[in-house]
């Protein structure tokens, strides 16, 4: 999230004085709301929510077997609801409530002090908080891809609730919160490559390892049951991502415009990269391939979107698509873990590639907006980026592992083999997606 708050344009202040002379002095001295920025951020917030429900839900829902369709849609939807309440109770405060280096404190728990007149930068604090909430929703929802078709719904709810509290909120504070130690170190993460994607990807990998493989993996046929859903979901993710990346400027300005443009470019570059690599190595281009590539591109450009230029975006996108392709087709097969829908392969790997390439292409010499003040060269910036990546991987990996091990001992993580065979829709929800 960009922490740049634009000064209110002088002409707007002048117009305010003419229209509302009584308020003119008050406006000059206190932070004030910019209508254009607010209008855009209201819109961006709705776009990012659309990414999870129904975008991500459909993207994932189409990739599982028919008997588990509803369980995936349900997981995404329930996460949306659960994280919303946790956010207003303590999440917003822990992430953005105060100035601490490691957490934001509890001063804004229960949304204390956040009212109609609260201002954050140039937008109402209510809008800022809701915008950030939609990020807190999609991050744990991304992890779903790693444990579909086998995790208990109750264990899933406990895991997500604890995970956002112990992993997401602190890391969001480190990178974006005021006083957060990673943001202060000069890590460039415009819209959440580290906080959202590497974080979710690593948590997904740990989930896949702790829960174990789906019964029958990899020998049994587990082909996606409806790639039409997947394409619709990927398209909604793409559209919603404009809110995610361009919205992260927190203003309606030139940086937001550039973030939108580079998002479009990187996504297209990654989708085509995946398609052509697959075409070359397996003989045919696939729908799942081009959709996966698009999402990998969106992930890769996320940290870079406010920093790189259009040509840098092509490289960032192509790099994300290329490495994610090899992660899901070769790395996963070789290591043998069942990251069922490639939460790590796509979000973790493309997130890491994007975070590192941000340090390269944010350089003014390569068409970017400039390195952070803490870096004197591209290598220096890449080093800072690697620090952000490394800290996230280690912290997220360790804490996720502990949460899962505790829950496994207390309540168990997996459904019974019989329920897994029946399918989670019937076994856990007494419903089925299709009556054919």
């Amino acid at each position: 999230m960009s922490k740049k708050y634009l000064p209110k344009p002088a002409w707007l202040a002048a117009a305010g004085m003419l229209a509302l002379p009584g308020l003119a002095f008050a406006q000059a001295n206190t932070p004030s709301v910019n209508a254009g920025n607010t209008a855009w951020m209201l819109t961006a917030t709705a776009l990012v929510l659309l990414m999870t429900i129904p975008g991500l839900a459909l993207f994932y829902g189409g990739m599982v077997r028919a008997k588990n369709t509803l369980s995936v849609l349900m997981q995404c939807f329930a996460i949306c609801c659960l994280v919303t309440l946790i956010w207003v109770l303590w999440g917003y405060s822990v992430a953005f409530g105060g100035q601490g280096a490691y957490w934001g404190g509890l001063s804004k728990a229960f949304m204390a002090g956040v009212g109609v007149d609260s201002v954050s930068g140039t937008i109402p604090e209510t809008v800022f908080s809701t915008f950030q909430l939609t990020f807190a929703i999609i991050t744990p929802a991304l992890i779903v891809g790693a444990f579909v078709e086998r995790m208990k719904f109750s264990a899933m709810l406990w895991f997500i609730g604890i995970w956002v509290t112990l992993v997401y909120f602190p890391i969001a504070h480190w990178v974006w919160g005021s006083g957060g130690w990673l943001g202060g170190d000069g890590v460039q993460d415009f819209a959440g490559g580290t906080v959202v994607h590497i974080n979710a990807g690593v948590a997904g990998l740990v989930c896949a390892l702790v829960l174990g493989k789906r019964s029958g993996f990899p020998r049994t046929m587990m082909r996606p049951h409806n790639l039409g859903y997947t394409l619709v979901g990927a398209s909604m993710l793409w559209v919603g991502w404009f809110g995610f990346n361009a919205g992260s400027e927190l203003a309606a300005d030139g940086v937001a415009g550039m973030a939108m443009l580079v998002t479009q470019i990187a996504t297209a570059a990654a989708a085509l990269t995946w398609m052509f690599v697959e075409w070359g190595s397996h003989g045919k281009p696939s729908v799942l391939g081009i959709c996966s590539g698009a999402v990998a591109g969106l992930v890769a450009i996320t940290p870079a979107s406010g920093y790189v230029g259009p040509m840098g975006a092509i490289v960032v996108g192509a790099g994300g698509g290329f490495f994610a392709y090899y992660a899901v087709t070769m790395l996963k097969t070789r290591l043998g873990y069942d990251d069922s829908l490639d939460a790590f392969g796509v979000h973790g790997v493309a997130g890491i590639v994007g975070a590192l390439l941000t340090g390269v292409f944010s350089s003014k010499s390569l068409g970017g907006a400039g390195l952070s003040d803490n870096a004197s060269s591209i290598i220096g910036q890449v080093g800072i980026q690697a620090l952000g990546v490394g800290v996230t991987i280690v912290y997220c990996g360790v804490v996720t592992l502990i949460i899962l091990k505790v829950l496994e001992a207390v309540m168990g993580l997996r459904v019974s083999p019989e329920d897994e065979n029946t399918g989670l829709d019937l076994a856990l929800h007494d419903e089925s997606a299709y009556d054919l």
Binding site: P218, M222, R223
Partner: protein
Amino acid sequence: MKLIAAVIKPFKLDEVREALSEVGVQGITVTEVKGFGRQKGHTELYRGAEYVVDFLPKVKIEIAIEDTNLEEAVEAISKAAHTGKIGDGKIFVTELEQAVRIRTGETGEDAL
């Protein structure tokens, strides 16, 4: 009386139905089936995960027919369903002992 059971490629169903109408066949029963023969299955690839699909979708048609019309009907099917590529299907002919038209109670060839 004979019973013809033919397993054909699904996209050939309309042509086969028309060819049978032309030789005077009054009714057929169609079932969507799956199976394999010399064609074997095919492979599908999802993000690098390769699945062998053993059974391919086919259409099975069944026709009860008088002995005298058998040759014509079998020829109509084999011509209409022919593509020359592997997987065109097979035609099986068996003796049919009895047929009953439920509405009228007619039996034997009168019921066909």
